[in-house]
């Protein structure tokens, strides 16, 4: 069984989690062009590599960040947004 570590609830089966997509920063809507905004809405960094992603632990309603390699599917750390210093080693 594949496991993932929720920063609030510890290591749980992957079936308790929902993938929320890549963590992305929106461009400033007041200054960006229409093309930049459309690119933000639709485009994704689809190539494989180390990514920062949103994940959701559904039984407890916790959204958090996972750092994961999308080629090897190895998770290197999970933490609540903005709290990287309390990083736990995940996916061992």
């Amino acid at each position: 069984m594949k496991l993932l570590t929720c920063p609030m609830n510890g290591t749980r089966p992957l079936s308790e989690f929902v993938f929320g997509g890549e963590y992305r920063q929106a461009p400033d809507q007041d200054t960006c062009t229409d093309a930049q905004w459309a690119a933000f809405v639709h485009n994704r960094s689809g190539a494989p590599g180390d990514k920062k992603e949103w994940w959701y632990h559904s039984p407890s309603g916790t959204w958090f960040i996972a750092e994961r390699n999308t080629l090897t599917d190895k998770v290197t750390s999970t933490y609540l947004l903005g709290q990287k210093d309390t990083t736990q080693e995940a996916g061992k």
Partner: protein
């Protein structure tokens, strides 16, 4: 045993005819370089030669031809989509498929079975009615049927689905078919080769040279090739290729899995799909049940298989067909699906001159192999995309003109 076969058996050299010539190393330059020896890339090479007389073309395949999603899919061919643009496009493909064995002089085991998309809820019935009306409007044979007609076509189906999800009706699509997927790749490869295109296996594109916004060559593990026109037809590898030319797209990669049972005597004539139970199934000409489910829930660039998938799929199969409980699953595998937000492909020109994209085929691109080859060949030959694929252009996202096919593509590939 036919005499022809016997001659091969007795011959010391086994002089079985090769499907296509093997060339040592690619030439210094080509008019068109096609990346990806799946059905789409090979079909494009074939139609470039046949329809446009463009034969100074090479197809570069990093593995073996048909080894990507072309050889991994569950071979369903249909045109009962949701948007008129989609229905027209896929219908054109079905029409080519119907005569393709003859055209390529290869038995593709193209078998028209009829296709039922089962509805277990009122909202699913609503989508079926919608699709039926759009299909009829465009001239495609689809209609909504009740449980009686489903039972007649497949008496083995438990219409109550173990009491879990009773079937209210279905969208019936008469032209729904299955075919031999690797045969399609091999048939197009032989056709393209005979007309003069060159096919290179074990040849990987490592980079694409772009100067002043124009393509001027590709780097491969077998050297540099000059060209002004490059077609990327690499399905699950698309983001790696578009990254080489700094092109952003909405494509993300999720694995899609499938499996087959041991062979049985023929009992399932039709193709059945259930969106609610995340199952689709048909019986192959070898007697195996070919089964698939929905997309894996998160991004991974890998063809690994999971136990979760077979467990989930087989439990729903048993809701539909309790008598299969003793039948064994003998093989499972996965492909990498290049998913788009609107479940429609991305085809045509790009902002880079001479770089053409045939991608975003996700879980639904096998059925489009002939028509995508034909329309991409047209796009390359004229440097302009035909109307048939206008709604699939990359710039539709910037224009907020998406081609929403999710209701017709999400489980029933």
């Amino acid at each position: 045993m036919p005499l022809r076969l016997l001659k091969f058996a007795l011959s010391k050299e086994h002089p079985a005819p090769r499907f296509f010539k093997s060339h040592e190393t690619p030439k210094k330059s080509y008019d068109v370089v096609i990346i990806g020896g799946g059905g789409h890339g090979l079909a494009a090479a074939y139609y470039l030669a046949k329809d446009h007389g463009i034969t100074n073309v090479c197809v570069l395949e990093k593995g073996y031809i048909g080894g990507g999603n072309t050889g991994r899919n569950t071979t369903i061919v249909r045109s009962n989509y949701l948007t008129p643009e989609g229905v027209n496009f896929y219908d054109a493909s079905v029409k080519i498929y119907e005569g393709l064995s003859e055209e390529l002089d290869l038995n593709l085991f193209y078998s028209t079975r009829g296709h039922f998309t089962l509805a277990h809820t009122e909202s699913a019935m609503r989508t079926m009615r919608w699709r039926a009306e759009v299909n009829k409007h465009v001239g495609v044979e689809s209609r909504v049927v009740g449980p009686d007609e489903i039972a007649k076509a497949c008496p083995q189906l438990d219409l109550s689905c173990s009491g879990q999800a009773p079937i209210l009706g279905a969208l019936f699509h008469a032209p729904g078919s299955v075919a031999r997927h690797d045969g399609v790749a091999w048939g197009y490869a032989r056709g393209a080769d005979r007309l003069g295109a060159e096919i290179y296996q074990n040849t990987e594109v490592l980079g694409i040279d772009v100067k002043n916004g124009k393509v001027c060559g590709v780097k491969t593990n077998k050297g540099y090739i000059e060209t002004k026109q490059v077609l990327s037809a690499v399905a699950g590898f698309t983001p790696r290729i578009t990254e080489m030319v700094d092109l952003e797209t909405p494509i993300v990669i999720h694995p899609l899995q499938a499996c087959v049972t041991e062979p049985m005597k023929p009992w399932l004539n039709t193709i059945l799909v259930s969106g609610s139970l995340h199952v689709y199934v048909s019986q192959s000409s070898r007697g195996e049940l070919v089964m698939g489910s929905s997309l894996d829930p998160y991004e991974v660039h890998s063809t690994r298989s999971t136990l979760d998938f077979v467990e989930g799929l087989t439990s729903h199969m048993l809701d539909m067909f309790p008598f299969l409980s003793n039948v064994k699953v003998v093989r499972q595998w996965a492909g990498m699906a290049d998913m788009t937000p609107d479940f429609a492909p991305i085809m045509g020109k790009t902002p880079i001159e001479g770089f053409y994209l045939d991608a975003g085929w996700g879980t639904w691109g096998f059925k489009a192999t002939p028509i995508s080859g034909k329309t991409m060949a047209q796009t390359i030959a004229n440097d302009s995309a035909p109307d048939l694929i206008h709604s699939f252009r990359l710039s539709r996202f910037e224009d907020y003109e998406l081609t929403g096919e999710k209701g017709a593509a999400s489980v029933g590939h």
